[in-house]
Symmetry: C2
Subunit: 581 residues, 2 copies
């Protein structure tokens, strides 16, 4: 019997026992013992990907949607380096990944053997934990060790803050046990004490009474506060707790589309969903300097909000972070509160009960301005007949059925959603790869999300992002994963049209990088149903049809990047008028 195959089976058993339910595997020879063990393990779904980069992001998508650790497995060599972008995004997005890289044993390292590179600490500081484990003989302690190693890897990835871990696992020839041995190998790994594995329970940092008392007293005395909610750390569901706190404090909540506060059935009077447009209006911003800012989650990307928060004002600025990260690129925080945000919100909501029973002039002013601006935005969008990226973002988000997930590209789509999406009572989930904000891996991540979502998933993505991860579409074809891809094609990097780079004589070549591709061929290559939407009605129809039929659709929307910049400007002028009136 092949000893290292027994150990691989034990490792995989530990992973499954600790909650791993999905593995993304790229074909290779050196990784055979683990690939076979993963294929034999009934509790783990096996996803095969030709391109490790795409497989890595697909796994990240599953990890983000399920908030459980996902295994990535590849063979030795550059294959392992292909996981790097997804590993870095997982680290910043706090998503649990267990990266398993097969390796050559020491006698085949650094001596000119094929597909042999230095895999020790290959991902540097981007992983929470690195461990190199050579497969020794399959004696009882080794089998126990490998099962415990699998369980520990999954538990470490899951533990707060969640993130990627990396096990490097050398294997020797022969890599393939005779098929007849497989049942025996699995049985050997299963002959272990069923209770003996590393189980992992994670606590949360709770605020103490003194902290609650001090903050509640401050809030009680100070009506002019705001809450800023970005994407919660690690994808935690913070929306209800943050809303409860804001209600008790009577504070308006500036709610990023990724915060979860713009969606679902909830009272909306304190939800400021038009803050991006609102805070670009200088007079409003000057008249609404808060005395207190309480921030949860990542800082929203809104330029208007950032300028507003940066203005010197003597504001007390409290940053709440469950893991003590100092996520404050503006360097304006006065207090860092290193506790679990949901626990803090609920404790403060209790402490503030009855503190502010009527809406203050402050909160009414925010609410009224937000309503006027949002109405102006909606009115202007409805008037635009040509295809405008802001309207596309709003229409796509607003058309989602309850339970659906919208995955949003990192460049313009997420910014347009922030400005133009008024929210919906339907319980939809909005996700984006905003950990490291790359434009890479977006299709694959969305497919990973769609693969495990019972309800429809829609991806809103720009053409450069689409092109970057083109090969990722293969998984849609191979696994028939239902996904509606709305491709906003402005033939290049639309975001650069907003930047001073436009003034450069060779702007198109150096920054916009137009490609002139006809994406219907990409759809044909990967068996996606293609439809081009020429106006808002066609977009709505195409989305509805795709969601109804539950297959993979590519809905292309062509926009003009120059006209896009103009319309953004016109709309902001309409906002200023609405607020001046």
């Amino acid at each position: 019997m092949n000893g290292q195959s027994v150990l691989a089976a034990a490792l995989v058993r530990g992973l499954a026992e600790a909650g791993v339910a999905h593995a993304c595997v790229s074909p290779g020879s050196r990784s055979t013992p683990l690939a076979l063990a993963l294929a034999e393990e009934a509790r783990i779904r096996y996803w095969s990907h030709v391109d490790e980069r795409a497989g890595g992001f697909f796994g990240l998508g599953i990890a983000r949607a399920t908030r459980r650790p996902v295994v990535l497995l590849c063979t030795s060599g550059t294959a392992a380096a292909e996981f790097y972008p997804a590993v870095i995004e997982a680290r910043h997005a706090r998503a649990p990944l267990v990266v398993l890289t097969a390796d050559r044993p020491p006698e085949l390292r650094d001596c000119g053997a094929g597909q042999s590179i230095d895999q020790i600490k290959l991902y540097g500081g981007s992983v929470k934990w690195f461990f190199e484990a050579a497969a020794p003989d399959a004696n009882a302690p080794s089998v126990r060790f490998f099962r415990s190693l699998g369980a520990r890897a999954a538990a470490t990835a899951q533990a707060a803050p969640p993130g990627p871990v990396h096990l490097n696992l050398p294997f020797r020839d022969p890599l393939t046990p005779p098929p007849a041995d497989l049942a025996q190998i699995t049985a050997a790994a299963e002959g272990l004490d069923p209770r003996a594995h590393v189980s992992h329970a994670n606590g949360a940092l709770a605020p103490d009474d003194a902290l609650i008392d001090e903050l509640a007293a401050f809030v009680r005395e100070e009506p002019e506060g705001i809450v800023v909610c970005g994407e919660p750390e690690g994808g935690a569901d913070l929306a209800d707790a943050a809303a409860a706190f804001a209600r008790a404090a009577g504070y308006p909540v500036l709610a990023d589309p990724l915060s979860g506060l713009r969606v679902g059935p909830r009272p909306r009077d304190l939800i400021i969903d038009a803050y991006d447009a609102l805070l670009r209006v200088d007079r409003f911003a000057a008249d609404h300097r808060p005395a207190l800012v309480i921030r949860f989650g990542a800082l929203p990307s809104s330029k208007g909000l950032r300028t507003f928060l940066e203005a010197p004002s003597g504001t007390r600025h409290i940053l709440v972070d469950p893991w003590g990260d100092l996520r404050d690129p503006l360097h304006v925080a006065t207090d860092v509160v290193h506790v679990d945000p949901a626990l803090l919100c609920r404790a403060l909501a209790r402490a503030l009960r009855g503190a502010r029973t009527r809406a203050s002039a402050w909160s009414r002013s925010w609410r009224d301005a937000n309503a006027r601006v949002r109405a102006a935005l909606q009115r202007r969008l409805d008037m635009i007949e040509e295809l405008f990226e802001g309207r596309v973002a709003r229409d796509v988000a607003s058309a989602l059925p309850s339970g659906a997930t919208l995955f949003v590209g990192s460049s313009m789509p997420i910014r347009d959603l922030d400005t133009f999406f008024p929210g919906t009572d339907r319980a939809v989930t909005i996700l984006a790869n905003r950990g490291a904000n790359g434009i890479d891996g977006v299709i694959s991540t969305a497919l990973g999300v769609a693969a495990v979502s019972p309800a429809p998933t829609v991806l809103l993505v720009g053409d450069l992002s689409f092109l970057h991860d083109l090969g990722g579409c293969l998984a849609a074809k191979r696994y028939g994963i239902p996904l509606t891809i709305v491709l906003v094609n402005n033939d290049g990097g639309g975001i650069f049209h907003f930047l001073p780079q436009t003034a450069h004589a060779r702007f198109e070549e150096l920054f916009a990088t137009p490609h002139g591709l006809d994406f219907s061929h990409a759809a044909r290559l990967f068996g996606l149903e293609y439809r081009r939407a020429r106006d808002a009605n066609e977009l709505a129809e195409a989305m509805a049809e795709s969601i109804k039929r539950g297959s993979v659709h590519l809905v292309e929307v062509r926009t003009d990047p120059k006209r896009n910049v103009e319309l953004h400007g016109e709309i902001q002028r309409a906002v200023e008028e609405a607020l001046g009136a």
Copy 2:
């Protein structure tokens, strides 16, 4: 005037002065000062790539073809991680790359700013040199420093052994100087002493007289030696020197297709080009144990050769390596000679002049067996009417005009070429990414080679490799790079059909990973001219037409992986018969 733009211009000037002639740049904002400086520098050709991974391999291709350092530039974040596979391949292939990653300045690191990851030593031990250089004020010493830094980076990449270096360069807003300032910025960088830059001359390790005397004496006494030539380190041209030495010693030369010894006008009687098939014949191998093996370059991948070299025999086994790497995965070397291989070969050829004027029985026996085996291989290939991968490899390589380059995929194509390519008098160059042997980046590397080659370039690639780097085809469209891609499509990982994994019940799903794609759609997407070759004649015609017209062609050849394994077996039996007769 924008100080950091002056420094960026000085850095780029230093790079150009040290011989950089090509830069592969991916669009981004943070990298703007360097992108503009590269665009302004007349001595550097600017190549734009949406996908940094493809851009990295494209740059690697240029570096391999020109053997001069090539710049890669990207913005901050996961973009930088996308270069990792190409950086690792460059390290192992000894190709000079200067990787420039733009970064956020310290005040925007590790504090939740967008697109900000830890880029310090991002590529770990895979680069020869890492340097972090913040742009200070553009005073005279700083400008000198940045120019010298550019020159030093290029020189270090180029210095023996060549490889990748990494400069991490933080920039602050505003990133874009007014276009009117560009000429002034360039002038400021040009106002430097034209002689004051780091110039770098590289020596080579020369063998001393004692070493030459000892080796020459040994060779003189020992007729039963062989020379094994793999891919030379760093792509050096070793073929003529190694052939001169072998001729003087009277030793047969087992010549890998990447060694350069199978091609070009040269005497062929000592060139053993059928060693892979020959050494699988047990009786021949047993009867031809050498007393001396002298090895140059990487160990060929031939399984027959590896088994032969491993057999215990008391052989003196000399490994010649210019950089003291111990490239001996079989652990059979008895002597490592750490000198420049060409200098050693020429010195030994001189010392052995007149030593062996007539062919020994030993060398005649190798030569005759090789001739019989090669004739049998050719005869069998000519008889196969169906499309067989071995014949495709031979026909493609044999059809190349003089001066052409053949780039070969890492999995089956390079192995088939080794077995079936008899060599040609035409001076063709054969290249492959055999540093780390990945299947990634193959299209992009070949396009990089083609971009700088005056003569035709042909890529022989399998379908999984093609699919892995599909997006790399965009560069062909954007730059109209002439390349003939011969795509051997066996619908999945054909190489696995040779391995014991085939016995597994879920072999197709876990290892072969068939995809069922119609690649004509990929050709349409990227504007490649597509042709399907259904037999050897159609393949020859399609290749000839593509080479003549000088555009980008995708010539698809569909093969049956199971039949492929059978034919390999039949042919080996024909070889055994030929040798037994």
